[in-house]
């Protein structure tokens, strides 16, 4: 049941982000009021990256954590994907940086699903928090 719920929510999220990407692609044509313009296509890379990481994380979550909350990951995927595309629309350079962060965080999530125990997160919470803060500042 959790797998189906999560899967359907992610499908809706994918449709939402596809439409968002399509709108961004067509936005120069709307501005110029003609089809004969240079279309922006780089945001499709962001959508592709999002799709790859989310599909992989969804596969791992449903296989290794069948009792996981089915709403949390789709909600996070929607917000992060939406944010990624919005930043990409404003500035592709910042968008690329955001995509990098999205990739890092998704990889950590995917790696996290493979852990047998997550007790060390609680044990070293302040060290991890400090490392995360320094990592954010360094980039």
């Amino acid at each position: 049941m959790n797998k189906i719920t999560q899967s359907r929510l992610l499908q809706i999220t994918a449709v939402f982000l596809f439409l968002q990407t399509l709108i961004i692609t067509l936005s120069p044509a709307v501005r110029a009021r003609t089809w004969d313009v240079d279309y922006r296509l780089t945001q499709w890379i962001a959508l592709g990256l999002w799709g790859l990481f989310v599909a992989r994380a969804h596969y791992d979550i449903t296989r290794k954590l069948p009792d996981a909350d089915p709403y949390l990951f789709p909600a996070a995927a929607l917000i992060s994907g939406w944010g990624l595309l919005t930043i990409w629309r404003l500035d592709p350079n910042f968008g690329a940086r955001q995509a990098l962060w999205f990739g890092v965080s998704s990889s950590v999530l995917i790696a996290g699903t493979r852990l047998a125990s997550i007790d060390f997160l609680r044990r070293y919470k302040y060290i991890l928090l400090t490392c995360g803060t320094f990592l954010s500042r360094s980039l």
């Binding site: 999220t13 939402f16 936005s27």
Partner: protein, 149 residues
Amino acid sequence: MTALLVLILRVALAIALYAFLWRIFLTLWQDLKQQGEFLSSQKKPGIHIHAVMENGKDIQHRFIQSEVTIGRDPNCDFPVMDEAISAHHVRISYHHTQWWLEDLNSTNGTFIGKSQVTVPTVLITSDQFRCGGTSFTILVDLVDAKLLN
């Protein structure tokens, strides 16, 4: 034309966003409904108490509530006019899918056979216990075991 197309896409975008929220709301609502139905279906079995007093007089009652007190006090669920029974002598309660017998620090004690009840004890159908000069027999209603689990 391009503006119209993008407007349609934006409307579709908004619909997709609301569909996402609606889907979450619907699933949560169905979960809550299922949980409610499950809890309401968890029936507890009724209990039939048959008391035989020293003078041979017998009284019997059937209870569907989860707690029954027996004693000399008329406010008890099952009042028994026996001088050897305390005002609030014993409690029979349903929890953890079983009926339990618990002595309420009575003066003359409660006995199952010859052993005194000092800790809450599980009761099953046909069990007998004695308070003062009155002996009680318990009959538990049969309920679908699937519901109890």
